[in-house]
């Protein structure tokens, strides 16, 4: 099936292929050269990803807004089905390709420093490269079968990386949990793929999901799901969608399968930055993007509801967390909820836009967190304190010690909150606006979605502010408790700083749009919107950003007051008191009694709910599984084997009966024989 292709396309494909395979090469090199190359292994991987990054850039430049490139080769034949392995490059995949490699590069660089002292340095980079390979493959493959393969490989590499420190009990519990949760999603995806394959006899994404693809020619008729290639009962369409959603929920940590993500923070922080913030968790959203035509109205609404709920819930939880990485993890869940919700409300472009921007600022924040934790661990190790280096209650005032990091954190934080001039502002705005647009003309209940989305924005603002304030402002609380400890804290080498710079650059508006205010001008947004796109008439356009951002600022300020005030009465806080005079107390009271307490309570409740009910139910599922397994094992030993023993007993019984006659007395033998003859006679007479 060799097809003639234009030379340029072939070149593009080769570039892509090289970009994907370079990390794999790095993985293989690192695995095979273990023990010999220990020190340079990091650079092997980094160089590989750098080259990937460059190649991806080329490819991106070629394909973006150009014609999609699709090339495939026969992989194997099974029955009459021919399976092709191929690469599909369109706007979505090249964007993701670039995004992944661009995010991965700083993380790699960062890791060379961050993991420097780990005894399994090589293994770390091997796994990291392997992850990059899987992730890159995931975004470029052209059929569902390969997609599933990469999908699982991504999960697998995540498993390996979460459990990287396999001696830590929590880490291996976390990676098992992550993998199994993901497996639930994989199962859903598998079923969905099987349904689609049965319906369309192909795995090819283009054939199924293209504009004029098979799925657009399928209709529901009389309870049947009819397509040009066959038909199935309608229920299977829902099951397929459900399967896809399960997959998305598992990978992108959506309610109710989100609980693995916070636990996954047991992995190295650099891993969290790459996998559990920027790339892998976004794969779910990417999947949605790939199979978007599958979903119809109702299903999309459900998606929106779930996304929205997840976003809100996670945000409330994040309010009360003290673990630095957990806050970020919940924040990630919340942001992913946004993206899913955006998909649900039809804001396809906005969703992907947010995906991209989120990757940058969340990766940035994680790297920042990594530096902070690293330094805290230094302090901890130097002084033998035995504290949790991730607990923000021990931190404070780090902006003076880590100025560079502090700036990066501010940029990242602002982007996360979505304040103007950041990329986050553009994407988040676009989602919110779309949400309101979408709810227009629908029932009042539908309005809840934009409203809650809005609320979440403010909650986000609050926890981000709380985080930054607690970590960087005020005084180092450790010093308070245990004065006289040694502090050798710094931003670290260039390998720490350079990634922050790179990522921070990505958090600012210029990368995405020349216009810092209007998201519709963004090239990225345009790349996914149908031509003619969005009308600018809506009043929401003007109002919303103002409303959102001003309130966000207010919230941040609130948080500032609350957390900064408790430490040392800083000027800012006094200034606030100054402006609002006694109302400050009043606000404080209201905040404490009217808002914070309920919100905190709500946060606690949702966390409790999360921990006990959702987590609990997952655990009890596991417990039930083990119980069932014990039962079936018992059944196996006693009933099935028991049947065998019964047979043996029967054999014995008959044998013993036959032996009973053999008592050694010949007359008894004769007697028995004659009795039998006699009974034969009598039988003969009677019959």
């Amino acid at each position: 099936m060799e097809q003639f292709l234009q030379a340029i396309d072939t070149q593009t494909i080769i570039f892509t292929l090289t970009a994907v395979l370079l990390p794999l090469l790095a993985f293989v090199l690192n695995i095979t050269m273990r023990g010999r190359w220990d020190k340079i292994s990091g650079w092997v991987s980094t160089v590989a990803i750098l080259l990937s990054c460059i190649l991806s850039g080329f490819v991106f430049a070629r394909v973006w807004n150009g014609h999609p490139v699709h090339q495939q080769l026969l992989w194997f034949t099974i029955g009459n089905t021919q399976l092709y392995a191929g690469i599909l490059l369109n706007n979505l995949s090249v964007l993701m390709l670039l995004l992944v490699s661009v995010i991965a590069l700083p993380v790699h660089i960062y890791s060379t420093a961050y993991m420097k002292d780990d005894e399994h340095y090589t293994r770390y980079f091997a796994f990291l490269s392997f992850f990059c390979f899987s992730m890159l493959a995931l975004v470029v493959v052209d059929n569902l079968f390969l997609f599933y393969i990469s999908w699982e490989l991504v999960g697998f590499s995540s498993y390996l990386l979460i459990g990287f420190w396999f001696k830590r009990h929590k880490a291996i519990m976390a990676n098992k949990k992550a993998f199994i949760m993901n497996r639930i999603g994989d199962m859903g995806l598998l079923i969905a793929i099987m349904v689609l394959f049965t319906q369309y006899h192909t795995f090819d994404i283009t054939q199924i999901f293209a504009d004029n693809g098979l799925i657009s020619r399928s209709v529901m008729k009389n309870g049947l799901w009819v397509s040009p290639t066959g038909h199935l009962p309608a229920i299977w369409q829902y099951i397929a969608c459900g399967g896809v959603f399960l997959a998305v929920a598992a990978k992108s940590a959506q309610f109710p399968l989100h609980t693995w993500l916070p636990d996954a923070m047991e992995g190295p922080t650099s891993v969290s930055a790459l996998i559990h913030a920027a790339t892998m968790v976004a794969a779910g959203v990417f999947l949605l993007g790939r199979v978007y035509p599958m979903f119809n109205g109702t299903e999309l609404t459900i998606l929106a509801i779930i996304g929205c709920f997840t976003a809100f819930m996670a945000a409330t939880i994040a309010l009360t967390q003290n673990d630095l990485k957990r806050i970020l993890a919940y924040s990630t869940i919340s942001q992913l909820g946004y993206m899913v919700m955006a998909m649900g409300i039809g804001a396809y472009a906005s969703s992907l836009f947010h995906l991209v921007t989120h990757s940058f600022f969340k990766a940035l924040l994680f790297l920042v967190a990594g530096i902070v934790i690293h330094q805290m661990r230094h302090i901890n190790d130097d002084n033998g304190l035995g504290i949790d280096p991730q607990d923000i209650q021990h931190m404070g005032g780090l902006r003076k010690k880590l100025p560079f990091t502090f700036i990066a954190a501010i940029i990242g934080g602002l982007a996360l909150v979505g304040l103007p001039l950041t990329s986050g502002y553009l994407s988040k705005d676009s989602i919110l606006i779309h949400a309101f647009e979408w709810a227009d003309g629908k029932g009042p209940l539908f309005k809840l979605i934009p409203v809650f989305a809005l609320l979440t924005t403010w909650l986000t603002a609050f926890y981000v502010a709380r985080l930054i304030v607690k970590v960087f402002f005020g005084e180092l609380r450790l010093l308070k408790n245990t004065p006289g400890i040694k502090l050798h804290v710094s931003d670290g080498s260039w390998a720490y700083k350079l990634p922050l710079v790179l990522l921070a650059a990505g958090c600012l508006f210029p990368l995405f749009s020349a216009n810092p205010i209007e998201f519709t001008r963004s090239w990225l947004f345009k790349g996914f919107s149908p031509a003619g796109g969005f009308g600018a008439e809506s009043s929401a356009y003007a109002l919303l950003p103002v409303l959102v951002n001003s309130l966000s600022l207010l919230v941040i300020y609130w948080a500032w007051l609350i957390y900064a005030k408790q430490k040392a009465g800083s000027l800012l806080q006094r200034g606030f008191l100054y402006r609002l005079s006694f109302n400050a107390w009043y606000f404080d009271e209201i905040y404490n009694n009217g808002i914070i307490k309920p919100v905190l309570a709500l946060g606690r409740f949702t966390f409790w709910f999360d921990r006990i009910i959702i987590n609990g139910s997952v655990n009890s599922l596991a417990r039930t599984g083990i119980l069932v397994s014990k039962l079936s094992s018992w059944f196996d030993r006693n009933i099935i084997d028991g049947f065998l023993n019964l047979l043996v007993a029967i054999v014995r019984a008959i044998g013993n009966f036959a032996r009973k006659f053999q008592n050694g007395r010949v007359q008894y033998y004769l007697f028995s024989m004659l009795v039998i003859i006699l009974s034969l006679f009598i039988l003969k007479i009677l019959v």
Binding site: F76, K167, I191, W236, L631
Partner: protein
């Protein structure tokens, strides 16, 4: 000399050589056995390379489409009024056999390599090993039912002794249980075989025949004979053909094993020494699956269709039930044994679907499980050899002590739980796809079976990961304390040499499934077509 004949009887020849060698050369027996298996492997690779594909080589029910055939008269008796009794020495392979044949010779090499651990009665061990080798190879090559049966039965006795003499603590029980279970299946198979023999006539010679290929053609059945399709004979009020199918199926299902006929397996696997566990799991189970394809489906296609639902159901039950049982095990080998039950359930499910995907998936799963279970049992054997314990709870943090070992364990475990890139994934996903598709294509299996089957993959992840977590990760803590810690050295060169090719094979098949699919596809299509014609 026919290559198949050579490959079958090479081990016997080497066995004779070992038998004739004086006992003081006992240290060289293992090399002789290894050489025998290597020679076999070389021959099977040659066969694989020279195996022709194309619609003209589909095999299944066309005698002329088989390759490397050899047909010699063997037993030739004139029984007067009853006609002539003719049994041929008839070997030949088609796509179904060739993949399993190569897999078998590969696994046998591994088994021979892992026989290094055997320390006592070497002569007996290797002679029995080579007889077993001959029998399993013979099963995959025979096209005459009588030969098939003889090889099939010939496996039992060597295995009995191999388990019984070199096995673990409960070896007597395990050996006899294995023997009785499988014999129970095969004696009834004998009855059906005789019935088939007397029902089928060779159209050329006019004699009754054991030729399996001719048994597949309804026209060869004597009118009015018990198993004739047209005659609708009954046995005890049940359709004779249905009875025949069920009996044969039970015989093979015991081997596969299918729940609830599986209980011999955990005992036998656990008690057997490593090389024998490898052969049991790697090859013996496939004999059952192969038998279902070659005999049950092909000779009784009508019943196979009407009974497909039940086959599928049994497959699903095996998948789930085996997985749950694996979850509950405390012994590593037992866990692996139950995982085999679960994995072989996919084979049955795929075969029951009677779709090209399902059958290809089933064959792939068999080949893949052949390598994987070999790997798993070898790995279990490694620690057993070091400390003579296999309790999952008795180990902790092995990863720190034996990193290389753990790496292979991770590969094997993840490959087994169906991680893409490894062969089991291809096998499982296509078995399931076939099962799912079946309802649309031929209406045999309901959709939910495939869905339930995929739950098995999930539980599979559960027990493998749990085991990983319990045994390999975490801080080092052994039941046997420091004694174990010193005993548990990492893999040596031979072990790596054994494991590495396996890992490569598993990976290669996962990445290039066409290694298998290309060779089997024509046969699969021929079989599917044949099954649809009924």
């Amino acid at each position: 000399m026919n290559i198949l004949t050579l490959i079958i009887f090479t081990p016997l020849l080497f066995g004779l050589i070992i038998a004739l060698m004086p006992s003081r050369w006992r240290s060289s027996f293992k090399y002789v056995a290894l050489l025998a298996t290597l020679v076999q492997l070389a021959m099977s690779i040659w066969i694989y390379c020279n195996f022709k594909t194309g619609a003209a080589f589909g095999g299944i029910n066309h005698e002329t489409q088989f390759q490397f055939m050899q047909k010699l008269p063997w037993i030739n008796l004139d029984l007067g009024a009853m006609g002539k009794m003719q049994i041929d020495y008839f070997v030949g392979i088609d796509g179904m056999s060739v993949s399993l044949l190569v897999m078998t010779s590969f696994v046998l090499v591994i088994a021979a390599l892992s026989s290094w651990e055997i320390k006592s009665n070497l002569k007996g061990f290797f002679i029995l090993f080579l007889i077993l080798d001959m029998a399993v190879t013979g099963v995959f090559c025979s096209l005459d039912f009588f030969m098939f049966y003889i090889f099939y039965e010939l496996m039992l006795l060597p295995l009995y002794f191999l388990i019984g003499m070199w096995g673990g603590a409960k070896r007597e029980y395990a050996a006899i249980k294995f023997f009785l279970y499988t014999l129970f299946g095969s004696v009834f198979m004998l009855l059906i075989m005789v019935g088939l023999y007397l029902s089928v006539k060779d159209p050329v010679t006019g004699n009754h025949t054991f030729n399996m290929v001719q048994m597949m053609n309804p026209a060869n059945y004597e009118p009015g004979s018990v198993f004739s399709v047209a005659a609708h004979q009954t046995i005890f009020g049940l359709s004779a053909r249905a009875v025949g199918f069920v009996v044969l199926f039970v015989a093979f299902a015991i081997k596969v094993p299918v729940v609830p006929l599986h209980t011999w397996l955990p005992d036998a696997h656990v008690e057997a020494p490593t090389p024998i566990s490898i052969i049991l799991a790697g090859i013996l189970l496939k004999v059952g699956g192969y038998g279902i394809i070659r005999v049950c489906l092909s000779i009784f296609p009508d019943i196979a269709s009407s009974g497909a639902y039940w086959l599928g159901l049994l497959g699903v039950i095996s998948i789930i039930y085996g997985a749950f049982n694996a979850l509950a095990q405390k012994d590593l080998k037992r866990m692996i044994a139950y995982s085999s039950v679960s994995h072989m359930g996919f084979v049955l499910l795929g075969l029951a679907s009677q779709t090209a995907e399902g059958i290809s998936g089933a064959v792939m799963q068999m080949v893949s499980h052949g390598f994987l279970s070999t790997m798993l049992f070898f790995l279990a054997g490694v620690i057993y050899n070091r400390v003579h314990d296999r309790g999952i709870n008795h180990f902790r943090g092995l990863a720190s002590v034996m990193p290389n070992y753990t790496a292979f364990v991770i590969v094997a475990f993840f490959a087994s739980l169906g991680l893409p890139g490894f062969s089991a994934f291809i096998g499982e996903i296509f078995s399931l796809t076939g099962a799912f598709k079946s309802h649309t294509v031929n209406g045999l299996l309901p959709y939910w079976m495939a869905a339930c089957g995929s739950a098995g993959i999930l539980i599979g992840a559960g027990y493998f990961l749990w085991t990983l977590q319990r045994m390999f990760f975490g801080t080092v803590n052994f039941k046997g304390g420091t004694v174990w810690q010193t005993a548990l050295v990492d893999l040596n060169f031979r072990e790596k040499l054994t494991l590495f090719p396996l890992a490569i094979m598993v990976l290669a098949l996962g990445l290039m499934p066409s290694l298998v699919f290309y060779k089997i596809n024509d046969s699969v299509l021929a079989l599917v077509q044949f099954l649809q014609l009924k």
